[in-house]
């Protein structure tokens, strides 16, 4: 037991606080695989909100155009795609005007890739917090991914404008967009959390990730429809969970039947990825303060 000798233990004042029977916190070496501590995460939900709010506030500080950048980036990308892939390369766009065909996917992709990238770099960028204060570390990459939702919302305004301009009418299938955006967020979170933990130990992630994101862009149906891939090979790109999400996103926008099978695969992949990466994160979390 402790070394405290009762003869030398003096109490200055009557304590104002009644001790609980069980300890509030027990600190000891953990076993390797521990599940998420959801109660602890819930207790720190305000911090998640504050870190998100900080990321959003800081992003466009000292820029003249401010939040307009959230629209400018996907807009310019869409214009370039429409010119090169739509007009010059004549990529088939499944009967949809090419600006809206490209913009719909670029919008989702921009949110996803920014989420993964900022999530992956978030722990390194907040090393001063990790070495100085305790809180569930999972909050940091989560806030980084979630902060991208605002940019997504701003850029969506242009999508609504394009839909109206090309005379698409509002249908019930638009309701499907909400779970699809949620699924994209979860996938970005799963991938972002995994890379963020890996990045603390292996700084190679910083160099490998942009490359990986670029490859991921080309294997996703952003500048082409999945129908362009020959029938017998279509299963191969469908291993990419983004295929089901992007195809479903377009299908609900343009009022076409949803590709349920690949959407189910994407959902399954996302959930497995999320569970796996949070376990892995928890396992590595213990040594973050020493490694970072």
């Amino acid at each position: 037991m402790g070394l405290a000798d009762s003869s030398t233990t003096v109490c200055a004042t009557e304590p104002l606080y009644h001790l609980p029977v069980k300890p509030l916190v027990t600190i000891e070496a953990r076993r390797s695989w521990v599940p998420l501590n959801l109660r602890d995460l819930w207790a720190h939900r305000e911090l998640l909100y504050f870190l998100m709010w900080r990321d959003i506030k800081v992003r466009y500080k000292q820029t003249t155009l401010g939040a307009a950048w959230a629209i400018i980036q996907p807009l310019v990308t869409m214009i370039i795609f429409t010119f090169f892939f739509g007009k010059l390369a004549r990529v088939p766009t499944e009967g949809v005007p090419s600006p809206i065909f490209f913009y719909s996917a670029v919008l989702l992709w921009t949110f996803f890739s920014n989420g993964v990238t900022s999530g992956a770099n978030s722990l390194i960028g907040n090393s001063n917090l990790i070495t100085k204060v305790y809180f569930p570390r999972l909050i940091i990459p989560s806030a980084a991914v979630a902060a991208g939702l605002l940019d997504f919302a701003i850029a969506s305004v242009l999508l609504i404008g394009l839909l109206a301009y090309y005379g698409f009418s509002v249908t019930w299938s638009y309701l499907m967009l909400v779970p699809l955006i949620f699924l994209t967020t979860l996938l970005a979170l799963g991938v972002g959390i995994w890379f963020s933990a890996l990045n603390v130990k292996y700084r190679d992630v910083r160099y490998a990730l942009p490359f990986l994101v670029q490859i991921w862009f080309f294997v996703s149906p952003i500048i082409y429809p999945s129908s362009l891939v020959p029938e017998e090979w279509r299963w191969l790109p469908a291993l990419n969970p983004l295929v089901g999400i992007i195809e479903s996103f377009r299908a609900s926008l343009f009022g076409r039947p949803l590709p349920w099978l690949s959407l189910a695969y994407s959902t399954g992949f996302t959930l497995v990825m999320l569970v796996y990466s949070s376990f892995m994160f928890r396992r590595m979390e213990r040594s973050f303060a020493e490694l970072i």
Binding site: V10, V25, L47, K61, A289
Partner: protein
Amino acid sequence: MKPIINVESISKKFRITPGESPSVRYETLRESLVKLARAPFVWNRPNGSRETIWALKDVSFEVMPGEVLGIIGRNGAGKSTLLKVLSRIIEPTSGRVELYGRIASLIEVGTGFHPDLSGRENVYLNGAILGMKHREIDQRFDEIVAFAEVERFIDTAVKHYSSGMYLRLAFAVAAHLDPEILIVDEVLAVGDASFQKKCFGKMDDVTQSGRTVLLVSHSLGMITKHCQRAILLDGGRIVRTGLAEEVVAHYDAMVNAQAEL
């Protein structure tokens, strides 16, 4: 009476690679792959090139509610490691700590301050990072700003603050925390002479408020003034524990004996 903090034989081992600066402890993927490839051949020399250091070895003590405990020791004695284990920043290699109250640690002031955000925004952000609820910050906001004496500049980005103003605001947020257990590292008194006086005054308030405080300081005067009891760490072990005056005297003698050698 039951202790509010119960530390049972905490040990912490660090691995260091000789010839490498401790700040470069992360490995590259390549190193890990090389290690993995070599693994079958190095089984007979475990931890071959790695040295281990026990930053803490078998440290046990108890702290009663309302007690102000001083922790002293030379640089590298394990004080900071102990505080980091207690504040749950690093995990002990073995041992167990039980905390019967909410804990807040001031290992540094201004943690998470963002230069581009205004003073007001940083108060909220820093407060949240230190574990305050939004409502609590709302209640104490005016008090914090008045304490830091930065009323006129509260909506200016803190990167335009003088270093004194910055530190005053950072200290003010920390000083208005209200946990049951407070861990304070070093003298957090910052700024010019008059503000330092205010900081010491605040420290007096905190240590006399009936709250449990762990105070780490190099200033032995601070320890004897504020603490009833102290522990002396050396080489990661507790070498002396008892009344603050006795432990400080022991430490003085130890340092003097060292100086004569």
